[in-house]
Symmetry: C3
Subunit: 259 residues, 3 copies
C-alpha cells in the first residue's frame, strides 16, 4: 500500500479527498487522492477509485438551482477499477467488475451491466442502455439513447451519433449494437443504424445503413464484404477467427478456468 | 448547495482551491473543489467553475522564464458554466453564457463571443476568432487561426488543421466557417478551406475544397450532393429541415419565448 | 514565480501535492498544484510538472495486490515540460526535453528518446519504442508495441491499432514509422504496417498496406500518389517542400543557431 494512503473506517483513502457523509462505500475499497464523491453515491466492495476522479458529478439541474439540487443516485457495483481522472455522473447505474481507463466520462441515465470496461478518454452519453461485457478502447463516443447488447467490442476512435438532421430535438435516436459484434478502430455511425449479432465493422468504416448479422462490412460508406466466418488469420496463428467467442475465452463466462 | 462547499466573500467555494488574490470573481459565483484560478483572471457573475478546473493556465513564456512571467489577462463573461476538468489559458477572451463539457482546453489568444458551448474533450487552439452561439460537441479540435462565424454547429470528432505541407511555419492558415453552417460528426478539414453560410458538411466527410453556401457536401474527398433545402426528414416529423434556423429556436435570439 | 508556489529543498512546489519521499526530483524543478508523484519516480533538473499531473501511475498489478505492489521505476530526463493533467505510468523511460500538452497518458514499458513532444489528449500505449524528436499533435493514439524512429511528425486525430482480427491476444503487432515520416491529420492505420523513411501519409487516409519511402499516399484505402519531392507550395512561399528536413530547422540538431 502506498505510504501516502491511510486507512479510515475500513476503507483506504488518499489525501485531499472530499467524500460526502452519505456516500456508501463498500468494504475493502481503496480511494486515491483528490477524489470527490458526492451525495447519494454507492460503490461496492473491493473497488478502486483512482486519484482526481469525481463520482456523482451533478446533472444540468444543478446549474439551474444549485440550492435545491439533490444528487440522483449513482450506483456502481463491486470490484470496480475506476482509474484516475474519471467523471461519473449522478443518476447512472453500473454493474459489478466495471473497469475504466483514465478520463472516462459516464453521463446520467446510463445503465450498464456487469464486466464492462471503457478505454481512456471514452464517453457514454446520457440514457444509454448497455448489456454485460462491453469492452471499448480509447476515444470511443457512445451517443445518447444507444442500445448495446452483451459481449460487444468497440475499438479506438469510434464515434456514434444520434441526430439525423442536426440540430434537431425531435427525431433523435441512438444506434443499436447486438451481441458479440465487433466495431473496428476509427469507425463512424449515422443515427438509428443497427449492427446485428456477430457482425464485424472493419476499421475506418463510415456506416450509413444496418449491418447484417455475421457479416463483415467495410468502407465509406460501409458495404458488405463477406461472411465473418470467411476471415482467415494472415499469420496462420489462429485456425478459425470468427465467431471470436469460439476462440477467445479469457475473462468470459465460457472460460473453462473460471468454472 | 453541497454540504462540502462553503461561502466566502459572497462566493461559494469548494475545498483545496488555489485562487489568486487578484482574480476577479463576479457575484453569486460557485467554485468547485481543487480549482486553480491564477493571476489576472476575471470571470463574471452567476458563473460556475467545476472541480479540478484551471483558469489562467500559463502560456509558453512561463516555461522560458517563470520568475518574470506575468499571466496575460483571461476574461470570461457572466453566467458561465465551466464543467469540471477544464483548462483555460491566460490571454483568452470569452463572452457571456459560456458552457463547457469536461476536459475542454481553450488556448491563449482565443476570442469567443457570447452563448458559445464546447463539448467534452474539445479544444480551441490559439488565436482563433469565434462569433456568438458556436456549439461544438465532443472531441472537436478547432485549429489555430481559424475564424468561425455565428450560430455554427460542430458535431463530434471533427478535426481541423492549419498546416498545408507540414511541418511548416510559413504558410499556416486556419479554416473559415460562416454563419449557420453545420459540420457533421467525424469530419476532417485541410487548412484554408471556407465553409460558407448555411452549408452542411455531412458526417464522415474529408473536406479538401471550399464548401459553397447553402449546399450539402459529403464523402472523401467531400463533393457537393444537393441544396440543403432538398433534405427531407426520413421520419416525416419535420416539414422543412433546412435552413435549420427556421425550425430550431430554443435558446436562440429568434426564440419567441425569450422575447 | 506564482505567489501560490513555494520553495522547498531547492524545488518549487505548489499546494496540495503528494510526493513520495523516495522520488528523485532534479534541481530547479517546478511542481504545480495537486501533483501526485509516486514511489520510484525520477525526473531530471530544470523540469516543470503541471498541476493535477500524476507521475508513477500504478500498473495493473496494483489492482491485483495493492499491499505487495511496488512501483516499477519511471525515469524522465531533464528539461521536461509536462503540462497539467498528464498521467505517466510507472515503468516508462523518457529522455530529456520531453514536452507535453494537457491530459497526455504514457503507459508502462514505453521507451522514448530525447526531444519528444506529445499533443493534448494523446496517448502512448504500453511497450512502444520511440526514437528522438517525435512530435505528435492532439488526440494521437500510438498503439502498443509500435516502433517509431527519429524526427517523426504525427498530426491530430491519428489512430494506430495492434490487433488484426480483434479480439486476439496471439498475433498482435504495432506499426512501424521510420525516420522523418509525416502522418497527416485524421489518419488510421491497420496493425503491422510500415511507414518508410521520408514518406508522407496525407490527412484523412486509411492505411492498410506498407507506405514506401519518400512517397506520398492518400485515400481510403491509402494509395501512392506521387513522390514527396513533387509536392509544391500552393502559395509559392516555400521553394522545395520535401524532404522537410532540408527547410525546417528550428529546434533540430541541424539548426545552425544551435551550433
Amino acid at each position: 500500500m502506498d505510504a501516502s494512503l491511510f486507512e479510515k473506517n475500513g476503507i483506504v483513502v488518499g489525501k485531499n479527498c472530499i467524500i460526502s457523509e452519505n456516500a456508501k462505500i463498500g468494504e475493502n475499497a481503496c480511494i486515491g487522492h483528490n477524489v470527490i464523491i458526492n451525495d447519494n453515491v454507492e460503490i461496492g466492495e473491493n473497488s478502486f477509485v483512482g486519484s482526481n476522479t469525481i463520482l456523482g458529478e451533478p446533472t444540468v439541474g444543478y446549474y439551474n438551482d444549485s440550492e435545491k439540487y439533490e444528487h440522483p443516485k449513482l450506483t456502481i457495483g463491486k470490484n470496480a477499477v475506476i482509474r484516475s481522472g474519471c467523471i461519473i455522473y449522478s443518476g447512472a447505474k453500473i454493474g459489478d467488475h466495471f473497469i475504466t481507463g483514465h478520463y472516462v466520462t459516464i453521463r446520467e441515465g446510463v445503465e450498464m451491466g456487469h464486466h464492462c470496461s471503457m478505454g481512456i478518454y471514452s464517453m457514454v452519453s446520457q440514457n444509454t442502455k448497455i448489456g454485460n461485457y462491453l469492452k471499448t478502447q480509447m476515444y470511443v463516443l457512445i451517443a445518447d439513447d444507444s442500445v448495446i447488447g452483451n459481449y460487444v467490442w468497440i475499438f479506438p476512435n469510434v464515434v456514434t451519433t444520434s441526430d439525423r438532421h442536426p440540430p434537431c430535438s425531435r427525431c433523435n435516436e441512438g444506434i443499436t449494437i447486438e451481441d458479440y459484434a465487433i466495431i473496428g478502430a476509427g469507425c463512424a455511425f449515422v443515427p438509428g443504424v443497427k449492427i446485428e449479432k456477430n457482425a464485424i465493422v472493419s476499421a475506418g468504416s463510415f456506416v450509413t445503413k444496418d449491418v447484417k448479422g455475421g457479416m463483415v462490412y467495410a468502407g465509406n460508406p460501409a458495404r458488405p464484404i463477406c461472411k465473418a466466418t470467411k476471415i482467415a488469420c494472415e499469420k496462420g496463428l489462429v485456425k478459425k477467427v470468427y465467431p471470436w467467442q469460439d476462440r477467445y475465452c479469457k475473462g468470459y463466462p465460457w472460460d473453462k478456468k473460471e468454472e
